[in-house]
């Protein structure tokens, strides 16, 4: 499928209509713009409200009616995210660090396992290749709550409960299907003739892959890794069932834990949510060209 958002505009209605119709066209265009703006505001308002709450003084956070503009500004909530009440590092900042480690390691593992597999699936004729690929993708559709029951029992036997390694492994397994599908698309775009030519020059297939194909795949690998990173970073279900201690807990369950008590510090919740979401948005912006493929797990390419 050759589809691109950046491609030419699909014929915004041309002005070949008679004058009467053109006036109607202008009114219609205004309506369309107004609708679009209204929808954009509705979609973005919660995000803006979250950012606003994170920089509001506590009493303004709970103000009724809500204060949209004339609130008192503070950065205290952001300080609370990283610094504990009595000084020193806060529990939340530890969880953020755990998230970085777990998401990073699982992404590396998924990439190291997935990229060679994607290349092999793209280049070689294998038995029941299509079935294998579909099987791989379908493991990704399993309901996490169902998978977590046997994983929980398995980890209990192996001593992987409440360990970073356990989370890293499950996230890697969760990201490998995506990496293979996404990367196969990128490998397909690199002509196999490059490798054939290199092999005529006397390189082995592996050398041809490493020296000629792999460098061309780097942008694709980067984009794929960024998506895997986002998936692991945002993951919540496995994290909440497979970890419990402060030393291991990643950020999503830690942030969700903030609303467990009787009183909820919504300013802190908002600030930690902003801190948590910011890297994701930056990364997503970097890979915006590949978003369609990324969010459909590599199934839809353009």
């Amino acid at each position: 499928m050759a589809i691109s958002i950046d491609e030419a505009v699909p014929a915004p209605v041309t002005d070949d209509a008679p004058a009467a119709r053109r006036r109607g066209g202008r009114a219609r265009r205004v309506i369309e713009v107004v609708l679009l703006v209204a929808l954009a505001v509705a979609m973005l308002f919660p995000v803006l409200w979250m950012v606003e709450t994170s920089i509001k003084e506590n009493r303004d956070v709970y103000a009724v009616p809500a204060k949209f503009f004339n609130f008192d500004f503070t950065l205290q909530h952001f300080k609370d995210v990283f610094v504990a009440q009595g000084g020193g590092r806060s529990d939340l900042s530890g969880s953020f660090l755990n998230s970085v480690i777990v998401a990073g390691a699982s992404t590396i593992l998924a990439t190291v396992l997935g990229v060679p597999a994607a290349w092999a699936y793209s280049r070689f004729t294998l038995k029941a290749k299509k079935d294998q690929l579909f099987f791989i993708l379908s493991t990704r559709f399993m309901p996490p709550v169902v998978v977590v029951i046997p994983i929980f029992l398995m980890y209990r036997e192996l001593g992987l409960i409440d360990s970073k390694l356990g989370l890293i492994l499950i996230y890697a397994a969760f990201n490998v299907p995506f990496t293979i599908w996404m990367m196969k698309g990128f490998v397909d775009e690199v002509p196999a003739e490059y490798e054939d030519a290199a092999m005529l020059d006397g390189y082995t297939r592996l050398q041809a892959f490493r020296k000629f194909t792999l460098p061309l795949l780097v942008p694709g690998i980067a984009a794929t890794a960024v998506f895997a990173l986002i998936f692991s970073w945002n993951e919540f279900v496995f994290a909440i069932f497979l970890t419990s201690s402060q030393e291991v807990r990643t950020a999503p369950p830690a942030i969700a834990g903030l609303i467990g008590g009787t009183t909820v510090d919504w300013g802190l919740v908002a600030a930690s949510a902003v801190v948590f979401a910011l890297p994701v948005l930056v990364f997503a912006f970097l890979v915006r060209k590949h978003l369609v493929a990324g969010v459909t797990l590599g199934a839809v390419r353009r």
């Binding site: 030419a8 014929a11 995000v47 979250m50 809500a66 699936y121 998978v147 029992l153 050398q207 279900v237």
Partner: protein
Amino acid sequence: MTTTTDRPVQEASSTTPAPGGSPRLSDRGLAVAFISPALLLLLGMSVFPLLWALYLSFTDYSATRATGANFVGFDNYSLILGSSEVHKRALTTLIYVVGAVLLQTVLGFSIAYLISRRTRGRGALTTLFLVPMMLSPVVVGLFWKFMLDAQFGVINSMLGSLGFGQVEWLTRQRTALFSLIVVDTWQWTPFIMLIALAGLTAVPNYLYEAASIDRASEWFRFRHITLPMVWPLLLIAVMFRAIEAFRLFDLVYILTSGGPGVSTETLSFHVYKVAFLGFNTGTASAYGILMVLVVIVLAQFYLRYLNKLKEG
């Protein structure tokens, strides 16, 4: 594998590369060596656990009891399939899936259509609309919980200034499920929009030009050019969302914890309660296996269709 594989790349480039062994043989070895690690991880972390769950589903095993598992045949399955509690959750899940996916599709497609008719600022607009989709369900859930709070939530505050009364969004039977659908729609409308937009921008210009030469009406163009071209991609997006919505857990967990009562308990959430609060591991496994079967059927539809689309 040949002996040259361990040679550093630099060396290989500076000297004439050593001739490899039989290329056919090494190809096969290479394919196995490259694919098997990934497949092993999937077998260990996805297939084996599911097989274990399948085994447990025929037993009365409980994760908290020290005693072993007794074989109980299909008891767990008949228990689940005959349980009115499960039927109720299935209905809740169905309402949620249909409601959320329908709303997302209509809204997402409309936004995509509106954006595709703009000439300027499309990139920026698209990027802005995509923000909710990239957020973690934890962030989305928490934040909407705050906004929908009956006392100090901003939604009620805005309704109040418009002259409406307070609505207990998350604590009333009727509104709770509706709120869940709204939040999910907010997060995933961009997904449909993104894919619909990809389809809309792929419609070749000459089709529209031909239509305007024929003085075809706007509706005709939409109905006979735009829709047929976008429909296949849109269907992919819809099926994808339906599978995801069927497995929904995190949003329920954070927004309502299934309440009030059990009005927002989806199947996923019920499995969790049976497994981790009731510790009926065997029953929960059977429950889970049944859910997996549904997912497999849905995923098969999706993959078949995808395959057809790719070949066509």
